[in-house]
């Protein structure tokens, strides 16, 4: 077996020559039963015996990493897969720029690096926990399968981070790996580390919004870590990104199909005004203003994940060569940012203005800006669907200051249009911008499972193409029991 092929002979499929490292193998094998326990108790509820048409990575070569077949989720082969090693790779940024990339943890950055890995690792099982009840209300077997694919790949991403902790961080790495299995999303005593990962994902609209907006934060973070001077982290996250793309797909196409269905139903019923909410809801589809409110909520919660706009931690991680910028190697500058500045949006004198900050300190703001551009792309596509069907409505990303709990805008209230308002005004009007109880109750009322092959719930259109080129009535999940 060479480094490009996964060794399926081992308990843990991998392309990191695990069998050649007895100590690590034993550590991972010891962790594995706890992981399976966690999956069975906190993974998708009620589907442990179902046969799911999933893709499994069998190698990291472009032609080998997506093998499709039916598998029971607890028997999924969660592996450890690193993108192929780049020869003579150099640290691409920071004060060590140009030095050979580290293959072992640099002692001076040990705790900083461990923290980065633990935070990334903690989000992976968290989202599985958040989504564990969704299977019961799936709008189709196609969507159910996509949910489970996302789930098992989040599970694999946890494995990937645990590998780094156990391989490179000794005893405290092992302890952190254990702790990743003991925290629980939304648990009052042992919550997951980041706020958005303690929010519930109660319905499929939330799920699609979450995979579109919040998993996209994951993508940006992984992109930044993929630049890392610590080569094992870079290689691990580079391969994770190829899987993350599927999660982006589930979110973007999920919302797009909901938008399409709503607009088509409105057109067929002769409803021109998207704000005739009762009439639209009478058709059994989700009205566009409610979709806008849901997008407002998920976007704002996700922006909080980027942390404070100006941050010493981010500066240190960059300077140390541990966490770069989005597509670092494609940026044309000195990659050290010693004397550079970056414009950051600030709240000043009742309005907003750009303020130049030292670029090194403003890395969180920069990554958030990159995220904003990335997230805007899908919204543009959704609007094309609306236009094409001929409804007069435009979905928009809310202003970055809207409904924020973290960072410079957390001490003010702003409308989605970016108008600063008083607390009283906010209290009075927030139901216009964020989903209200009756909105959520309506969405909840639509969540009835559709389990026959080829069937779709009335509030969502069928996809344009099947997974792995499968036909429309393909049985993506054989549910049983």
């Amino acid at each position: 077996m060479d480094a490009l092929h996964v060794s399926y002979d081992d308990l843990i499929p991998n392309n990191v020559n695990l069998s050649g490292d007895r100590r690590l193998q034993r550590a991972l094998e010891a962790w594995h039963p706890g992981y399976i326990d966690w999956w069975k108790t906190m993974g998708p509820e009620g589907f442990m015996d179902s046969e799911v048409y999933l893709r499994t990575a069998v190698s990291v070569e472009p032609k080998g990493w997506a093998k499709f077949g039916y598998v029971k989720m607890p028997e999924y082969r969660w592996g450890i897969l690193l993108a192929p090693q780049e020869e003579d790779r150099k640290i691409p940024f920071g004060q060590h720029k140009g030095e050979p990339a580290w293959q072992e943890v640099p002692g001076e950055y040990r705790s900083m690096l461990r923290r980065l890995i633990v935070i990334q690792g903690d989000t992976e099982p968290a989202s599985v926990e958040q989504q564990r009840h969704l299977g019961k209300t799936c709008p189709s077997l196609y969507d159910l399968r996509n949910l489970f694919q996302v789930n098992v790949e989040e599970g694999r991403h946890l494995w990937a981070m645990v590998y780094l902790l156990q391989k490179h961080f000794g005893r405290d790495g092992r302890e952190e790996a254990e702790a990743l299995l003991t925290r629980r999303s939304g648990d009052a005593d042992r919550p997951r580390l980041l706020g958005a990962f303690n929010e519930a994902t109660p319905d499929w609209l939330s799920f699609f919004m979450f995979t579109y907006f919040t998993d996209r934060d994951g993508k940006m973070q992984l992109e930044a870590l993929a630049q890392s001077g610590f080569d094992p982290l870079s290689r691990t996250t580079r391969f994770m990104l190829t899987e993350e793309a599927h999660h982006m797909f589930v979110g973007e196409s999920g919302i797009s199909r909901i938008v399409q269905r709503t607009c088509e139903a409105m057109k067929a019923a002769g409803i021109e005004d998207p704000y005739e909410i009762d009439k639209v809801r009478a058709l059994g589809v989700i009205d566009l203003p409610t979709l806008q409110k849901k997008a407002n909520f998920h976007y704002a919660v996700t922006l909080d994940l980027f942390g404070a706009e100006v941050s010493t931690n981010a500066a240190n991680a960059f300077n140390a060569g541990l966490k770069g910028r989005f597509q670092e190697t494609k940026i044309e500058d000195d990659h050290q940012l010693v004397n550079e500045t970056y414009p950051v949006l600030r709240h000043e004198g009742g309005g907003f203005k750009m303020v130049d900050e030292p670029a090194l300190s403003a890395l969180n703001a920069r990554l958030r800006d990159d995220y904003e551009r990335d997230a805007a792309g899908g919204v543009k596509r959704w609007n094309k669907v609306i236009q094409k069907i001929g409804i007069d409505f435009t979905l928009e990303l809310p202003h970055v200051a809207f409904n924020r709990q973290v960072g410079t805008f957390s001490d003010l209230q702003a409308t989605p249009a970016g108008e600063i308002v008083s607390e009283a005004e906010w209290e009075k009007r927030q139901g216009e911008w964020l989903p209200a109880k009756d909105d959520l109750a309506y969405i909840d009322s639509l969540m009835q499972p559709v389990n026959e092959p080829g069937g779709y719930a009335d509030w969502i259109a069928s996809p344009k193409v099947g997974i792995d080129g499968k036909p429309g009535d393909f049985e993506y999940v054989k549910i049983y029991g």
């Binding site: 092929h5 472009p62 032609k63 080998g64 990493w65 997506a66 093998k67 993508k219 990104l241 190829t242 993350e244 793309a245 599927h246 982006m248 797909f249 973007e252 196409s253 551009r373 792309g377 899908g378 543009k380 596509r381 094309k384 094409k388 344009k464 193409v465 099947g466 997974i467 080129g469």
Partner: protein, 405 residues
């Protein structure tokens, strides 16, 4: 007029701009603007590396075009354009049907692979559909030689066609169409017939604009009366200097790997050897060292006298190609078919099947398929492998190919 091109495109309605294709492309043929991810036709060599990692299926779209869509055009798209009707095919309804007929012939020939077949990862990019019935190429016969012994029952010909100043690029494994002149008993033009090219891409004679075919004179017996095959008799009777109407080239999956390290198992009977002669000759001409990927050939015929290219084949060294020739009509020996010989070489075949560099090709009469597959299944079973899943995997990675007729 420039030759048509099969252009790789990304469906902007399905694409989610995840950048996976751009990241995956080994030669940077994929780029993007704020709206769309697009493929540069001037760079893309259709290696298909980007196909399987794409999470959406948006990546797997193709259009045959005279002029490739520019990057700027693609950046503007909200949806993919329809396949335009090319002038080449615009000869009225009957012409359309004729070209569909070619596709049908190819589909039937490749059906034995059991699913959508991809070309080998390292295959060169083929040109296809350059010439059609309404606009055929006109080839001149440069030679017509019998390659089975005069006294054998089987009349198999090696026919060399020269294309003069017409561009007719082919790759090993591709086919061309031949249109016999005249009309059939009901006054309709004859159907097109497909023949595998038996010479490598640089010509029957290196750097000549020619190619060769391996053609067997077909005779069917009906109620004791011999009916000569229309196309095969026409071809076998051609004289040097005669002109032939040719269409094609056709075929974009049954191609050889360019990778010199790739290993090849060839399994054929009779004129099914044509593509393998082309591939072997390509390897022979390009050979640099002894240790390049091995070729293992299983070749069946009734007798040595009826085995096409028997003499030249025997001269090729084992270091280039290991030849397992088997005969079903030897007076003093029991009948032996290719599948029998494969089972006798279980160890060698199994070792190759386990190697992810190995490509398997089957070519010949439809009748050979089941026996060969049973042999492969049996060889796999003995090694704890499952031919069903292995062949599917090989097919998906462009390493399992069937062309039978």
């Amino acid at each position: 007029m420039s030759a048509p091109l099969r252009q790789h495109l990304i469906d902007p309605e399905i694409c989610i701009r995840c950048n996976t294709c751009e990241e995956t492309c080994p030669i940077n043929a994929v780029t993007h603007n704020e709206d769309n991810y697009v493929v540069d036709a001037a760079i893309c060599n259709a290696c298909l590396d980007c196909i399987s990692p794409c999470p959406t299926g948006a990546i797997d779209n193709w259009r045959t075009v005279r002029e490739p869509y520019s990057l700027e055009e693609q950046f503007e798209w909200d949806e993919l354009p329809e396949q335009e009707e090319l002038e080449l095919d615009a000869g009225g309804d009957t012409e359309e049907a004729r070209e569909e007929e070619v596709q049908d012939l190819l589909d039937q020939a490749h059906a034995g692979a059991g699913g959508q077949v991809r070309p080998p990862a390292s295959a060169a990019k083929p040109s296809i559909n350059l010439y059609s019935r309404s606009e055929p190429a006109l080839a001149t016969v440069a030679g017509n030689f019998r390659i089975t012994q005069q006294d054998s029952q089987s009349d198999i010909r090696h026919i060399v066609l020269d294309f003069g100043n017409q561009s007719f690029p082919v790759l090993e494994g591709q086919s061309i169409g031949v249109i016999p002149p005249g009309v059939d008993a009901r006054g309709r033009p004859h159907h097109v017939r497909l023949y595998s090219v038996a010479s490598p891409r640089d010509g029957e004679r290196p750097n000549h604009n020619n190619l060769s075919l391996t053609v067997k004179r077909e005779v069917t017996q009906v109620d004791g009366v011999e009916h000569p095959g229309v196309a095969s008799s026409y071809l076998c009777d051609l004289k040097k200097g005669d002109q032939v109407q040719v269409t094609g080239p056709f075929g974009n999956s049954f191609l050889m790997p360019n990778d010199p390290e790739a290993k090849i198992i060839m399994i054929c009977t009779g004129t099914g050897s044509a593509p393998f002669r082309a591939m072997t000759e390509r390897r022979r001409r390009r050979r640099r060292r002894e240790s390049e990927g091995e070729i293992l050939l299983f070749f069946g015929a009734r007798t040595p006298a009826e085995l096409p290219y028997f003499g030249p084949l025997m001269k090729l060294p084992d270091s280039l190609i290991v030849k397992e020739l088997c005969f079903s009509r030897l007076a003093d020996k029991p009948k032996e078919y290719v599948q029998d010989r494969m089972l006798k070489r279980t160890e060698a075949v199994a070792a190759l099947l386990k190697d992810t560099r190995t490509h398997v090709y089957i070519c010949g009469l439809k009748g050979m398929e089941s026996g060969v597959k049973e042999a492969l299944e049996s060889i796999c079973r003995g090694e704890g492998l499952d031919w069903q899943s292995l062949s599917a995997e090989m097919r998906d990675t462009g390493r399992f190919h069937v062309e039978t007729y």
